[in-house]
Amino acid sequence: MEALSSLVQRNSKVFRRDKTQVFFSLLSVLIVIVLYAVFLQKMQVDAIEQMTEATPELVTMVNEWLVAGLLSMIAVSTTLAAYGIAVKDLESKAQADFLTAPISRATIQFSYVINALIVGCIFSFIALIGCEIFIVATGGELLSFRNFVNVVGILFLSVLLASVFNLFLVLFVNTQNSFSTLGTIVGTAIGFLCGVYVPVGALPTFAQNLIMYFPISHTTLLLRNSFMESSISKVFDGVPASYVEDYKINYGIVYELHGNILSTSTSVIIIFVTIIVLATLSIILFKKKNK
């Protein structure tokens, strides 16, 4: 236990002091913010204005839509960056140095996972505070207490999912070169696969299905539900329910599969099952790798 906690402390110190690593882990998120400021926000506001009249709540709602997407991306990109230490240790043979001490490979690997969880949680929490400040500063309201608790819970779940998801990917990587390639691919793909760069409804059907089956997008969906709950009801006050439903489907606030709207609990179950499956696969892969 002492060895594990010492390894985790070491990992987190090494990560924190690598400022460029931290910056690059947030790069994809910064890109979204820039895109949003330049045109994404305006596009959405214009589109919704055609259904209902423009109110200050409308801008807030769109802003909330954005921060929900950002938060789910941050969980993925920061936990992946945290695994950079694992790849570096493997390539530089630092792992061999750890192995001359009476600790197992599994303990070392586990220390990277815990570090990724910690890094993901810290960044998500800081980002959440930043997002709330942004929402309030642009004329919105703070989350209600119930939704705040929901959001924190979903964030924790998404960090857990992202840590396991990235662990699985990183197990295929042995060099820092391939790791940075992986980082680029994940960083780019995640924005699309969570429907943050482009709303789900604007994509062709096969892409929509791909997103629905991509487990991490369900964290985005859950976050949007919690963030946007009150502003949606204000913005669409007096608008026919079918319009609201169309909006929710097009903007990835609910998923419609074979004509049925997926329930929140279905999303939560999908996330949990994915965590268990990927964790099991990772353990099998890890054991095979270290035979």
């Binding site: 060895a3 010492s6 390894l7 070491r10 690598d18 009476p102």
Partner: protein, 306 residues
């Protein structure tokens, strides 16, 4: 006599290639043991097996009385050994002290014990001036000091050093050596060393030369020198023709290059008697002592197994 390391018939196979071909040797507790060999001779493979980093294919290895790969024994082996690798492996962005203490904790030492060990090691390796600096900003020699301190933080009984002084300047090399020797003498620690520098092997108690996975020579440096190296003398005569004549008269075989004649001598004293006889002919001379370099080159050139 207690043995720190006992190796019997150790083999390591990578696919069809045999890296280590059934070697056996023992290392006495408290001794300095040097492992020589050209690149690819199997030194690193052997050292990695002894350090539990690599699984052996067959054979038995006992480290400090614990049998390698026997149940739970590897953890005990690891507690009792320290390893300095060829490369610098500590974390660049952590300070020397942080690096050493973080890794020290992985041995399950108590805080007090760790602090005490750190103090002890620090005085030997003069860590005071570098302990607060980031490892990445240190010079090669300072890094090596930190590496050795990390390997010693749990006060192991055996210290493995895999080419520890490669790439260091002569002064630092000497410092590193003095520190290791002093520690070894005062704590009765066993030092197991692989090196390219023959003068480092010359101070060992026991030397083994490895070639293509087999032991081709072993013994004390003196014994090896007697067997494989010889003293030589270089002579320059006032008149080379007269010199040749004199050498032939005395039936001394020689080689000549640019007017410098090399002959083999039994010892420095033998050289002196020869010099006295030939004194009027000689313009200058140099006696060259046989070194571990000769031993190494000789063994490597020999081809077969001794």
């Amino acid at each position: 006599m207690t043995f720190a390391i006992q190796v019997e018939n150790l083999c390591k196979q990578y696919g069809v290639q045999q890296a280590v071909k059934g070697i056996s040797f023992t290392v006495e507790q408290g001794s300095l043991f040097a492992f020589l060999g050209a690149n690819g001779a199997g030194k690193s493979t052997t050292i990695e097996i002894l350090c539990t980093l690599l699984k052996k294919s067959s054979g038995t290895v006992k480290i400090n009385g614990y049998t390698l790969d026997a149940s739970n024994d590897n953890a005990e082996v690891r507690k009792s050994i320290g390893v300095v690798f060829q490369q610098s492996l500590l974390d660049e962005r952590l300070t020397v002290r942080e690096n050493i203490l973080h890794r020290g904790k992985t041995y399950g030492l108590s805080k007090a014990q760790l602090a005490e060990n750190y103090q002890f090691i620090s005085t030997y390796l003069h860590l005071d001036d570098i302990e607060k600096r980031k490892y990445g900003t240190l010079s090669g020699g300072q890094k090596r000091r930190a590496d050795i301190a990390r390997a010693l933080i749990h006060r192991p009984k055996i210290l493995f050093l895999d080419e520890p002084t490669t790439g260091l300047d002569p002064q630092t090399r000497q410092f590193v050596w003095q520190a290791i020797r002093q520690l070894q003498l005062e704590t009765n620690m066993t030092v197991f060393l692989t090196t390219h520098y023959m003068e480092e092997a010359a101070v060992a108690h026991q030397v083994i030369v490895l070639k293509q996975g087999e032991i081709v020579a072993e013994g004390t440096p003196d014994a090896l020198k007697t067997k494989y190296a010889y003293d030589a003398m270089a002579l320059v005569f006032h008149n080379s023709d007269e010199g040749v004549k004199w050498l032939e008269e005395h039936a001394i075989s020689f080689t000549e290059k640019l007017g410098i004649f090399s002959i083999r001598v039994e010892s420095t004293l033998h050289a002196l008697t020869l010099l006295k006889k030939a004194e009027p002919l000689i313009a200058s001379f140099e006696v060259i002592k046989g070194t571990m370099d000769d031993v190494f080159l000789h063994i490597m050139a020999e081809g077969g197994v001794a």
